[in-house]
Structures are given as C-alpha cells and as structure tokens.
Amino acid sequence: MKAAVLREANKPLEIEECQVSKPGPREVLVRPIAAGVCHSDLHFMDGSYPYMLPTILGHESAGIVEEVGSSVTYVKKGDHVITCLSAFCGHCDKCLTGRLALCSSPDVSRKPDEESRILQDGQPIHQFLNLSSFAELMLIHEHALVKVREDMPMDRAALIGCSTTTGVGAVFHTAKVEPGSKVAVIGCGGVGLAAVNGAAIAGAGQIIAVDMVDAKLEIAKSVGATHTVNAGSGNAVGEVVEMTQGGCDYTFEAIGLKATTEQAFQMLGAGGVATVIGMIPVGTMVELHGVDFLAEKKIQGSNMGSNRFRVDMPQFVDFYLNGKLHLDQMISKHIKLDQINDALDALKTGQEARHVIMFD
C-alpha cells in the first residue's frame, strides 16, 4: 500500500510503499475512502508534540471494512465505518465510568513484543494514534471504529472522525451548553466551526465566532454564528465582553495557544466556563488572574469532545443528513494522497478550511 510517511520532524511527508500485518483476533482492516487533513497533524510534524518516528500521520477518516479478525463480530466485510482515535478498552475505570475518550489502556495497541501493525520491508512503522489514515489500508482495533449508514457521503463522514466530534462534543459533552446561553468560539478552523455549529444545535442564544480571517468568519455565520469578531483588531476580549454585556457563559478555545486560552478565560462572565480544545504545545504554561475565581469562572480541557463515539458519530451522521450539521462548507478541496504536503502547507497559512484526501 502507498502511505505518507513522516521520517523527520519539519520535513515533508514521503509517499512510500508500506505493508500491514495480518489482522489479530480483535483487529479490523479498513480501506479508507476519505481522510481529512487536520491541523493536529501539523503539531506532530513540527515537533511541538514529540512522536515516535517513522510514522504515518492522519487520524480523521471513513472507509469500508476489508477484513476482520477472528473474534470480531461488530462489523463485517463491506460495512461503512468511521474511524476514531479514541479507541476504548471497555474495562478500565475511565471506560466503566462513561469517560471513554480518556481511556489510555494499552490494550487497544499491540504489545511491545508483537509485530507492528504497519511495516516496511519487515521494519516497524509506528502507528499514529492507533490509526495512521494517510495510507491506502488501516489495520486498527475493533474499538477504534463505528458503523455508519451507507447513504452518508464518505468525505463528509471522514470529518466526523475528528473535527466534528471534537468541536460538537466539546459543546455537548464537555461544556454541556444550555439553550439561550452566550457562547464565544476562538478559532474557526474545522474544530472551531464544529463548535459553532454544535452551539447552534444546542440552542445557544448568542454565538460569537472569533478569528483573524474574514473568509472563515463568513463560514462561521453559515454554520450558526450570530456575531463575528475579527481578532486582528487587537481587542477581541473587549469586543466579546461588550457584545455579551458582561461576558460569556461558555467560551471555547480551538487553536491551542497560550494567548487565546487566556483570552477565552477573560471573555467569561461570572459563573462562565472556558473549555480548551486546542492542543497547546508541551511545556507551555498558561496564566490566569486569580481574582477571577471569586466570580466562579472555570476553565477545563476537552479531549476529542469527551466523546462516546459509537453513540455520537451515528447521531452526527443523522444531524448532517437532516440538515442540522453543516459539513459541506468545511471542505475546501478534495486531493489525492500524493498532494498531502500541499494540503499541510495550506493548513499552515490558516487561510483555508479542510482538504480531504480521496483514495481511488
């Protein structure tokens, strides 16, 4: 199979020939049809999150089951599936208390002494987040996928595999946004736009999208933003506090920066909750004004939208097909696997929404 391999941080991906191992008892071989190119992939490419190399990036995909392991009963060959990096073991304390997205059990990976799931001429290639979707085949644990209805377009389904689940899930599950509330979302990439859309579905009364790119703010309006703020003005916090007459009930940081995380907290009104979705580089410290805690302002993290993806993703598919979830405008371009570096370069500029790789 062809795959886009990262061999060294800050270097382009190389399209190389790799192989997959045979499915183990609880593994599924998936032939991806579509894979989104997500900003999180860049964090690992530029080394702000260290990762074992060589690896094959990509973690947002939809495809068709090609082969199943001997113990797999949940899916069969030909089923349409969305993959998810939140592979859950099903028996740890996090899983058993309903917080599946926080499962960190190694049971969903192969053991250190087993053959790697991905190989190149017998040498192991490290699987990225238990997925590695920039490849023509994916060998994954059965708990890293969910079956979906076959009338769902695969390119839209792929987005549900990460950005939609992360953004909408942060609104629904992590923050539990209430109808009528005042919401601000900082950063209108794929995840931020999904949070805007999620806030609209949840019935928020005021949804303020904040970004520095007007084109993205226009997309935000089309998916549910009631107001927009171009942060290039230099006073995004002041504008949001003024628009909401005292600050938000909920804010979402969807970039992964110290400054915007602190702004998300500053945009809160009394009793408000800031939810940090973005991946802040390892080692970065965040500073808050301690006095704000007297106003019962809160700040929390959200990992993959605190998902229960086997329940959430089919619901998101239904939301798309009944017109509540707007995925069409999230895709700026369809590309082939060998155009992956162009897509990653485009992401760095912050000017475009999402490129989606379509496999033949």
Binding site: M52, S86, A87, S104, H126, L129
Partner: protein, 73 residues
Amino acid sequence: MATQEVESEITGTVWKIEVKVGDKVEVEDVIMILESMKMEIPIEAPCAGTIKELMVKEEDSVVEDQVVALIES
C-alpha cells in the same frame, strides 16, 4: 564522569523500554516510549553516555518531570 537525569516531559505509561543498564547511548537515542492519551511519545537521551540506572519498568505510570533514568556521561 557526571550523572545526568533523564526526565519525562509528560504524564503517561511506560509502553516500551529500549535500553538496559550498561548500554551506551548517543544524544537523542530513544531510551523508552511512553503511551499518553493515545500518543507514542519518545523519551530521548539528553546526552551521550552509559545507562547507569532505569527507575521505571514497562507498564509503570510516570508523571511530568519524573526522573526515569540516569546516564553516566
């Protein structure tokens, strides 16, 4: 001869240890691999030298800034 501490920069679980006591390592050689929130994160040697002590074993939990190994350089 000086002893250099090797620290984890993130909280996680030791998935695989790639060296044993007495092994010689170069700067940036992978000493062990952590699993943290689905990520495989390498802990690399900060200097060249000989592995003097491993303070953790596979499947142990480690926290940010924890010393996981000593290198004699």
